[in-house]
Symmetry: D2
Subunit: 150 residues, 4 copies
């Protein structure tokens, strides 16, 4: 059936993705990512997942994780998914829906490339809160990631 | 593995979706949808697909389908996916990426519910151009659909 | 006071905007714009306004103007504002909030450039419904417009 | 001329805004805002401005301020602008354009209400980097802020 045609298959191109080791070094070199304790989980072929532990400093005044931290996870998941496919990138813009209050032990984001074009990569990401071993979706994003050397 | 947890499974609620026959009547009662020749393909359980034929009136000056028509497909796919799950809805907002010039015989959009909450339904949609039997992605959207009777 | 610094002042660049006559010819050459009866009102220096008459074909089943028509106005206002400053462009993506049901005699959109960068132009637009001589806001958008020859 | 009609004038409603003192207490009670050193500058009548100092922890690996911090400023400017008009709110979603690399001594965001409706408040914000006394725009956002007691 036509509507089963996979929309998320990234287009192959001459560009080379950033190796996992190089991205992990980049994360260590990013003070704000270190401040949040961001950790890369899965990586490669246009798909990534990462986590951030829930500690008191990332909360807002109702005790939920601050939306900006969910934004960090969504943005990073999209940018790193793009980087795994095409190399150096920078986030051009993203739209983020905050779906539910985030509580638990850690946040996990999963990002994937929808389509890579000549100048940019379109990606989406879902962000989950893990609590007692269960993941609940707390945010979702759609992003435009620009290639640095198109 | 935790990151395999499906993000798109809609939450069940007491609300009842609009039956297919009622939605199709609503499409017939919508002059702009009739003007574009919108046709419902698949429908139900938070997932829909629809099509619009590519005719000269929907083109822009370079001969591609106008972005507003891709917006129509994306918005409709999201709103109808939500309606299939929770009943009467109205689009609150959406973000649309125009990925590639759209040419071919018809456009097809596929929408799905990411999460239904108390007052709104978060949905996404991909829009494809069909040419010589092949579908190419031309747009993707993320939308917030408001329930009329939350 | 620092926060009074104008955010909307476009950056001057070597690029040359499309002349008004050329844009109006482009609108006449765009079948979908002609179908909707789009008319350019003000144009130049990164700011534009346009209108679309409210006729039965642009309505949805509740008698309000279809959201896709509001999307057309918002997208066009942003793209034309960019074109007035930098020349040929194509819409990369936009986010549209549908604020209120649109009724009246015509819709008017006003778009403006927020910032022009090396490869793209960031624009925003507001869409109004005119009824009995009064304008009410019905939509607002933020868009990324790509330069064709960066 | 009709297109001069101000789009940003908020609709008056029965709801009462949060007093400045209460918002400042809420900021102090928000660990993530304290971590970033967020400071309220102007506040009231649907318009706010705030600042965040640029310190090493908020940077990414190229030495620019991390996009998530710009997201924090944009989201906060929108939510607080809404709160100044209608009381308790929560961010439903936002779209953020990252316009230029952010460097300097501090970031300043200015947010304003575009329109307050029955259930939500539509807001926009611009984010600037201050360097040697000059403000340069580094981001812009459009957000939907939900009222907690509609």
């Amino acid at each position: 059936l036509i509507v089963d045609t996979a929309p998320t298959k990234p287009q192959q191109s001459a560009a080379t993705g950033i190796p996992r080791e190089a991205l992990e070094q980049g994360i260590r070199d990013t003070p704000f990512a270190a401040l949040l304790g961001a950790q890369l989980l899965d990586y490669g072929d246009g798909k990534v997942s990462l986590s951030v532990p829930v500690v008191p400093q990332v909360l807002q005044h109702h005790g939920f994780v601050h939306g900006a931290v969910i934004g960090f996870l969504a943005d990073s998941a999209c940018a790193w998914a793009a980087a795994s496919l095409v190399g150096d990138v920078v986030t051009s813009e993203y739209k983020l829906n905050l779906i539910a209050p985030a509580t638990g032990s850690r946040l996990v984001a999963r990002g994937e490339v929808i389509k890579s074009t000549a100048r940019q990569v379109i990606c989406r990401a879902d962000v989950f809160a893990e609590k007692d071993g269960t993941l609940r979706i707390v945010g979702t994003a759609l992003a435009t990631i620009a290639k640095l050397r198109p």
